[in-house]
Symmetry: C2
Subunit: 198 residues, 2 copies
């Protein structure tokens, strides 16, 4: 990982301190493993800084992220670092009382809540897990997402994971990593394993 030295000093009128605390939009995309695990690994750093963390899990499978969720809940409840609020679409968003008709509607409801939380500066790190999909599928308007992120107040960092992240998102993001699959055990017939896939 690069450390310390920026390769360019930007002519943006900001002080180093302001620049150092600039909110980042980060994207983990690509077909390889590690997009979400790296986002949750980053959440450990945020937790250590005492930041309030909001996770929005835009996936439906109940089995996914069970380990990450339990670990982050234990950390959030430990009183030693930041707090953790974990929201999952799979069981229906907790703040939505009525039945949602479709995954599309559920994804939109999730995004509406993210917008409210950004406006209220509820969290300092937002993990929008698998949020690239609803954008890719057109369920959530990418241009609107970019406008909201562009105008968000304060120093709220946002990380978005998922394959097929729209090009406009990559263009607008501060950090983009493509998790490129070189080799995966399932290519060799390996089934998903406890402790590895979930």
């Amino acid at each position: 990982m690069p450390q310390g030295k920026p390769s360019v000093v930007p002519d943006d009128g900001l002080t180093t301190r302001q620049r150092r605390n600039r909110p980042l939009t980060m994207v983990h995309t690509g077909t390889g493993k590690g997009k979400s695990t790296a986002a949750f690994g980053l959440a450990l750093r945020a937790w250590n800084q005492g930041w309030p963390i909001g996770v929005f899990q835009f996936v439906k499978s109940a089995k996914w992220r069970v380990g990450e969720e339990r670990a982050l809940r234990v950390l959030g409840d430990s009183g030693e670092g930041g707090t953790v609020a974990w929201h999952k679409m799979g069981e229906g968003w907790s703040w939505v009382q009525r039945d949602l008709e479709s995954s599309e509607e559920a994804a939109r409801e999730g995004w509406e809540q993210v917008k409210r939380d950004l406006a209220a500066e509820t969290y300092q790190l937002y993990v929008l897990d698998e949020f690239a999909y609803p954008m890719h599928w057109g369920w959530v308007d990418t241009d609107e997402v970019l406008a909201v992120l562009q105008d968000r107040p304060g120093a709220q960092h946002v990380i978005i994971t998922g394959r097929n992240a729209p090009q406009q998102l990559l263009d607008a993001a501060d950090l983009v990593t493509d998790m490129t699959k070189v080799k995966h055990p399932m290519d060799a017939g390996q089934k998903g394993q406890r402790g590895i896939e979930w």
Copy 2:
């Protein structure tokens, strides 16, 4: 992330159960961000399974991984999941009493301990953070690493991170992800940030 269905059923004489619990060698390499954070994200899943986790941090900077270390120590001490043993080269390996002459010697000492722990089946997940470098630099013999991993007993998973992972390691690994840098804030003059870089 792919789930469930392997694309090939191998003719290896193993039952599905045996194959499901096969120890994996995983490598996160490439120039992008997320190699180590994804490894520590994976450690959350291992912790949730109650596995003993051994982290060997083959880096010298004191600032690196402070968030991950504190989070994993809190999790390991919580009594709710697996245990965590965190070993770091930066401050001198805890089991080495004498002064080490060089980073090369320190890296070798770390690898010797990993070998002992693999033989004793001390952990179920080994995070060998930045271990690709000592192999790349020839401080630790890659062929020996591969032979030790090949012959390790039980179901001990090993994950190795770092740029420039040797090709033989990639060939022998079960899972390889290349974290490909598409865009990094430092390219635009952004300095490293708390909660993001450490």
